[in-house]
Subunit: 226 residues, 2 copies
Amino acid sequence: MEGKAKQILIADDEADILEIVGYNLSKEGYEIYTAKDGNEALEKAKQLNPDLIILDIMMPKKTGVEVCQILRSQPAFQDTLIIFLTALSDESSHIKGLETGADDYVSKPISPKVLNSRVNALFRRVSNKETGKTITVGNILIDPVKFLVTINGDEIILAKKEFELLYLLASRPGRVFLRNEILSQVWGNDVIVGDRTIDVHIRKVRQKLGVDCITTVKGVGYKFEL
Amino acid sequence: MEGKAKQILIADDEADILEIVGYNLSKEGYEIYTAKDGNEALEKAKQLNPDLIILDIMMPKKTGVEVCQILRSQPAFQDTLIIFLTALSDESSHIKGLETGADDYVSKPISPKVLNSRVNALFRRVSNKETGKTITVGNILIDPVKFLVTINGDEIILAKKEFELLYLLASRPGRVFLRNEILSQVWGNDVIVGDRTIDVHIRKVRQKLGVDCITTVKGVGYKFEL
DNA sequence: CTTCCATGTTAACATTATGTTTACACAAAG
DNA sequence: CTTTGTGTAAACATAATGTTAACATGGAAG
């Protein structure tokens, strides 16, 4: 189903973190490489050209932000995914991280579960755009290539966000998506929007589809099911 | 599905690059030949008449630019695809490269992924013109050989860019083409044009066709459908 | 060599579609 | 019957595209 294993380079000066994170991600089927300071990270990045680079902000030799900047300045790493690991309180580096061109950030202390889901989400996000697989659930058909939703052959036109929202929910029918997850997947981790925004879009989708296939799970989120 | 394997000649004085690039492109199904300086590149080019030549700018004996100029002056190599490899900073040679008649350039350090996609894109771009298949959708007929569009037998004359634009969209009815894709396919990856340029051409095509067959997908791109 | 014309491109502005917030209604849970 | 979370409509803000006209440019015709 998947192509070859995605390669992930993890850079952190704490050996414990390298081990825990590496172990958990490798269980997800990724191929893990590690570096223990900024310079080593740069070196291995150029050597491997990994699919994703996880950078600790605080590192000897070069900080994660510096590494990121250097990498981003090179065409070869323009599209490489980068996630920052940051201390919870350190809000400024978070900002700087996103400005520098990171794709996501995860704050310490790190929960393997959280990191795993972020990593998966990131890959899913880019792979959807690349592969753009058509989703079929019952009589509903969602085609990201044609940017089209069909119910019993009737075409329904959704706006971009509406489409992305539906596509996300329908990608895993039955699974509940937390409001947080929806936000980061459809809106991105950087933008900040109010709570009602999701509702409104949910409503619009429900309205346009005319079929009751999005269920509210109060206090949790939404799920797609027929 | 494809014809016979495309032949690619790679010229660079660094053995590492020849090896890496050659290996990766051969995995894509291309037939690889190498040269380690300008003279050898010329020699093998004339001997093989490859489909694509990848030239390092900095080479002993003759630079890539010189090789390109010599080749382009000969009718046999008028249509041969040429890609330059260039050092990141070396902006001037980039300019010169495109002036000399290169089809694309890729800056070092080289990411195999990037190079592969550029190469594939280039072949995709020309393959349409070569095969030049007439597209028929409903009562619309698009003939790239005669450079002619017909609706219900009425001939419509489009300018070059207009035609290429329509041809691209119509080549996959229903599929949404991102603005990026349109740019790289119709304009090429090198030229830089404003956003409005696409719109204007879309408009001209719509106007001349008189039929509403190009749909806007806001925030995404355009698609062709009746 | 100049002029003219077709094409391509840009800039500026108009016109949407789309996204977001606000404010309030409503329902369920405690 | 208060609190909490969600639904809804409408107002608002924003971004994306449509449109026109003016400005290059290159090649053909004179």
